[in-house]
Subunit: 424 residues, 2 copies
């Protein structure tokens, strides 16, 4: 497929959308076995196409180097043997997950004899807009197909040759397995107008899922006339309560902050109850410095530990994605809850406490997608939660909150089984 | 409260939103018993304030008559003794429903000992924008409060005095029962700019629910920068399959079309399989005419029954809300499914068939909120489905599809209970 920069994008998205809508309706009634067979073939074909993938990938790498992208960015684009094998393995794992479509829950028989239930059904067509790593093409295609959805993929221009090659291999394998044509489509142009067209194609696309940097997600949220499943910041907080086991608190804080820094479930803020601050603040600060973490503290923190900079108001809501932590002493449990609900990004928060009542109250009162008790914030992801693969973590409240896995890529419909009943 | 037409609406919505956000967070942790006690007092106070309600209502009726509103429209505004009693009874029924907040599902213990579950939680703040009948003020306030949400209500200008009186009575009773101030608020101005402010107040409002005519709902969908739970048209279809019991089909068609016409779950379209058309079309057409239903048929329908007008392409997607039906003969089950998915409004469809396979395939293949087998389309509502009261019927696919009851006014959060686990 050639990369045509002059495509009439409106016509293009309309054609792709029409095809996706039809394909989605056909896919909705295809049994799990047929979808899984196709997924396994897709995985095999990726591995057996390693050479082709790497030769297309080389074009992207070449362009990236010429355009002066940083070494780290270039590396994220690279399709090594191991990364291609991992992509294939990811698809096999998705094939092995339970099929969400058709699950029936809450069936009841009404007094008039009607049997009424909720039945899980595909959303229809997913519009996936992403940047950078080409493996997202494979992940998203597999998750959408398994959940009975057609998908229109729009990857970043920096990976266009790699993405096209992956999509073509997946599409061919799907077709060979009897999956309707149009279930997996990648927008074959780098024209940014295509994103705008997708965001308003409400006739063809049921939900938009953006994955990438803040500017991409903000643009999508602003322009979309279609529901969006998004996550903006992950400003996660650990709160060390007055009844905390301080040894456990130290391990949880260090793990939440330093296990990986560039991820949305890393801790960015630490709250310490005043009753344990005298003992805990110097202890944790020394440890954080040992791990090369820069500390930005409130005034009271700085009184207890001099070697930290003064936090500004921006620090309390910052997502550093780096070896930096904002630290604040709070006078009460209620202050901690209020602080988190106000400054946090509603992603993941963790309390460290031995007090039963506090743990239950924290779980009820914190308005976040993931509320943890006595464990690291780093656990909030689809694999750790036992959902298998995820397409992202939603900090929205409607439809999907937290990891977006197969279930979150579906909807429900009401099914009513009657024997001639009419309403009187 | 006076009706100030000159209010600075931006400031007003900001103040109401700030108050609602705070109140919502407080309400989220209030136990079911306290909410139910308040609901019962609210119901009692409505009844004991009948005189006051009717004197405020008289101002609206007076304005309505002077402005030349139709008699039917004026009647919809009227708060009779019976309607006030019914409003109160509705609130008592909501008090008696199970509380959705705090329900824990899918709890599992992971290999590392973490206990992980989904917990149902309030959405936060609901923005309710509605027209006409003042009873919506009471319904919406009670449903939102029971589901742990604060609500900002914006009723139609034609009912402003009635709505203000209802809201004041409910707010006073709630406050007397210890419910946080700000849980129930009604926008005290008829300035339409207030709607625009609500639709962009994403900092304070988590979801907008419009209830009213098509123009209101379209404006909301277009302008909102907040998720919207809406339903546009109810163009419901009955499909009479070749394996239908034709006697049952007749009763179901007549009930779906004529039981009530001005409602979204009334049938607007009838599809008949060609194999039974010769027998069924003349039979059902005669009956429909007896019920004063105007028939708009396809060419083949008109060959079998002369006394009907020719349907145009607009008829297949029309929501008549009247004694009119569009009728079409289809050559196959697949044609029926394709026709419904293409022209329907994804609200409610019903198949009449004795064939097991057809019934199961219809349920899988139809892309609508409610899929019925061998029963009237008129059953698709919250009470008939056993949910108790509803705030509307959503034809959206995300978050809530079908009747929007208490559960649909909540979200879920992930709860993770640990004992010091860190990620390695």
């Amino acid at each position: 497929m050639s990369v045509d920069l002059e495509t009439d994008v409106k016509k293009l998205i309309h054609e792709m959308g029409t095809k996706a809508r039809r394909a989605g309706r056909q896919l909705a009634v295809i049994p799990p076995g047929a979808k899984n067979k196709a997924l396994l073939l897709m995985a095999d074909r990726l591995v057996s196409s390693t050479e082709r993938l790497q030769s297309e990938n080389a074009k992207d790498l070449d362009r990236a180097e010429k355009s002066g992208l940083s070494g780290a960015m270039v590396d994220r684009l690279r399709l090594t043997d191991a990364r291609i094998a991992a992509m294939a393995q990811g698809i096999r794992e998705i094939a092995a997950l339970p099929d969400p479509v058709g699950e029936v829950t809450e069936m009841q028989t009404r007094p008039n004899g009607l049997r009424i239930a909720r039945m899980r059904a595909p959303l229809g067509v997913v519009g996936m807009i992403f940047e950078s790593r080409p493996n997202v093409t494979a992940d998203a295609a597999a998750l959408c197909m398994k959940s009975g959805n057609a998908v229109i993929l729009r990857g970043g221009s920096e990976a266009i040759f790699s993405n096209l090659a992956i999509a073509e291999i997946l599409t061919a394998a799907a077709a060979e397995s009897g999956i309707p044509e149009g279930v997996i489509q990648l927008v074959p142009t780098v024209d940014r107008a295509a994103v705008g067209e997708m965001l308003t194609a409400s006739e063809f696309i049921d939900v938009i899922i953006p994955r990438g940097g803040r500017s991409l997600i903000e643009r999508v949220a602003l322009e979309a006339r279609i529901p969006v499943l998004k996550h903006l910041d992950g400003n996660c907080t650990v709160y060390v309560d007055e009844f905390a086991d301080l040894e456990s608190a130290e391990r949880i804080v260090l793990n939440s902050k330093t296990h990986r820094t560039g991820v949305c479930n890393a801790a960015e803020t630490l709250l310490v109850h005043a009753a344990v601050a005298q003992e805990f603040v110097p202890q944790i600060c020394s440890k954080l410095l040992e791990h090369n973490v820069e500390i930005r503290g409130c005034d009271r923190t700085r009184e207890l530990f001099a070697d930290c900079t003064a936090a500004t108001d921006e620090d309390w809501s910052a997502e550093y994605l780096d070896l930096i932590i904002a630290m604040r002493i709070v006078d009460s449990f209620d202050d901690a809850v209020e602080f988190i609900n106000h400054y946090g990004s509603h992603h993941t928060e963790s309390i460290v406490t031995k007090d039963y009542g506090r743990s239950m109250e924290f779980v009820r009162a914190i308005d976040s997608a993931c509320v943890h008790v006595n464990c690291s914030t780093r656990f909030s992801d689809g694999f750790e939660y036992g959902l298998g693969a995820e397409i992202g973590i939603s900090t929205d409240k409607l439809h999907a909150r937290g990891p977006v896995g197969l279930k979150e890529l579906t909807t429900e419909k009401w099914v009513v089984l009657g024997e001639g009943q009419i309403r009187t």
